[in-house]
Symmetry: C2
Subunit: 171 residues, 2 copies
C-alpha cells in the first residue's frame, strides 16, 4: 500500500489526539491521558514548540471505515546529552493496527532519524514499556540498544504534588 510521511500541521492535531488515545488504550493507560487536541495545538505550534510531529497518510481509497486517512504519527523533540551533545527524543511512534506490517512504523522512525541527523544529533533516544515485546523486538531489529538492560539506566519522574513540593524546596 502506498503511504506518505510528512510534517504534522495544526490541522493534524485532531487525528494525533485520536491516535494518542488509541495508543494509550493499547498500552492500558487510557485513564492517564490528559492531553487534548487543544493542548497539542498550543504546545506544538508556538514559537518555541515543546514537540514536533510527523504523520503517515494513506490514499483516500484506503481510508478506514471511520474515514481516517491519517494512520500513524511520531512525536519528537530535540534534547541534549552532556556526553555526546545534540540528540533527538522520540516521544511516540504509532501506526493503527490495520496498517501495520507495511513499513509505516519503520518509515516514521527513519524520518525521525533523518531529521535528527540533519539537526546535528548523534543519538536517537526513546522509552518502551518492558512488557511490550512486539515493540521492543521491532526497535532492537532496527539497530537500537536497550540501555536499561545493558548499562542500567533507570527513568525517574517527579510529578503532581511532589513536583510542587520540590519546587518549594520542601520535599
Amino acid at each position: 500500500m502506498d503511504f506518505s510521511i510528512r510534517t504534522a500541521t495544526l490541522e493534524d492535531c485532531k487525528d494525533i489526539a485520536r491516535m494518542i488515545l488509541e495508543l494509550a488504550e493499547y498500552e492500558k493507560v487510557l485513564d492517564q491521558v490528559k492531553v487534548t487536541q487543544k493542548d497539542l495545538e498550543q504546545d506544538g505550534f508556538i514559537k518555541n514548540p515543546f514537540f514536533h510531529g510527523i504523520v503517515a497518510e494513506v490514499p483516500e481509497e484506503h481510508r478506514t471505515i471511520e474515514g481516517h486517512i491519517k494512520v500513524g504519527y511520531a512525536l519528537y523533540f530535540y534534547s541534549y546529552s552532556s556526553w555526546k551533545g545534540r540528540a533527538v527524543y522520540m516521544e511516540d511512534l504509532y501506526v493503527m493496527p490495520d496498517f501495520r506490517g507495511m513499513g509505516i512504523g519503520k518509515a516514521l522512525m527513519s524520518k525521525v532519524a533523518q531529521l535528527g541527523l540533519a539537526a546535528g544529533c548523534s543519538q536517537l533516544n526513546f522509552t518502551v514499556l518492558d512488557w511490550n515485546k512486539p515493540s521492543l523486538d521491532f526497535y532492537l531489529s532496527q539497530g537500537c540498544t536497550d540501555i536499561t538492560a545493558s548499562i542500567g539506566y533507570h527513568c525517574l519522574r517527579c510529578e503532581g504534588d511532589k513536583l510542587e513540593q520540590l519546587a518549594k524546596g520542601s520535599a
Copy 2:
C-alpha cells in the same frame, strides 16, 4: 556555607565542561564524553538552544584550591509527554564532592522544578544509573519515582552507524 543558583551564561561553559568531565569520571564513563566547551557554547546559546543550564556558585573565600567558585550545575531542556503534556527533562545534576551535603544539589533540582512549573510543565523526568545508589536514594527522598522499577520503562537508544542506517531506511 552560602551559595547562589543562577542561570548559566556563555561564560560558564568552561566550568560546565570541566564539571561534565568530573561527573563522567565519577560515573566511570570518561572515555564517552565528546562534548567540549565549544559545543556547549554553540548548542546552549543559540536561538533555539538544545539545552538550558543553571550553575551554583560559592563566595570567593570558599573557592577550591584550583580557584573554582562554580561548584555545581544542572542542564535541562523542555520535553513533551503525549499523555501529560509539557514536561522538563533534567539531563545532568552535579555538585563537586567537597561541596556536597550543604543543600546545593537539592537547590539546583528545586530550581529546575520551579522553572518547569513556570513553563507549564507537569513532569520532571531524568535518568540515573542503577548502581549509583547514593544518587538514586537522594532522588527518591526528593519525591521522585523510579518508573523503570515501578512500571517497566526501558530506555532505548540508536546511535552511530546504526542511526545512519536507520535514517537511510536500510536497518
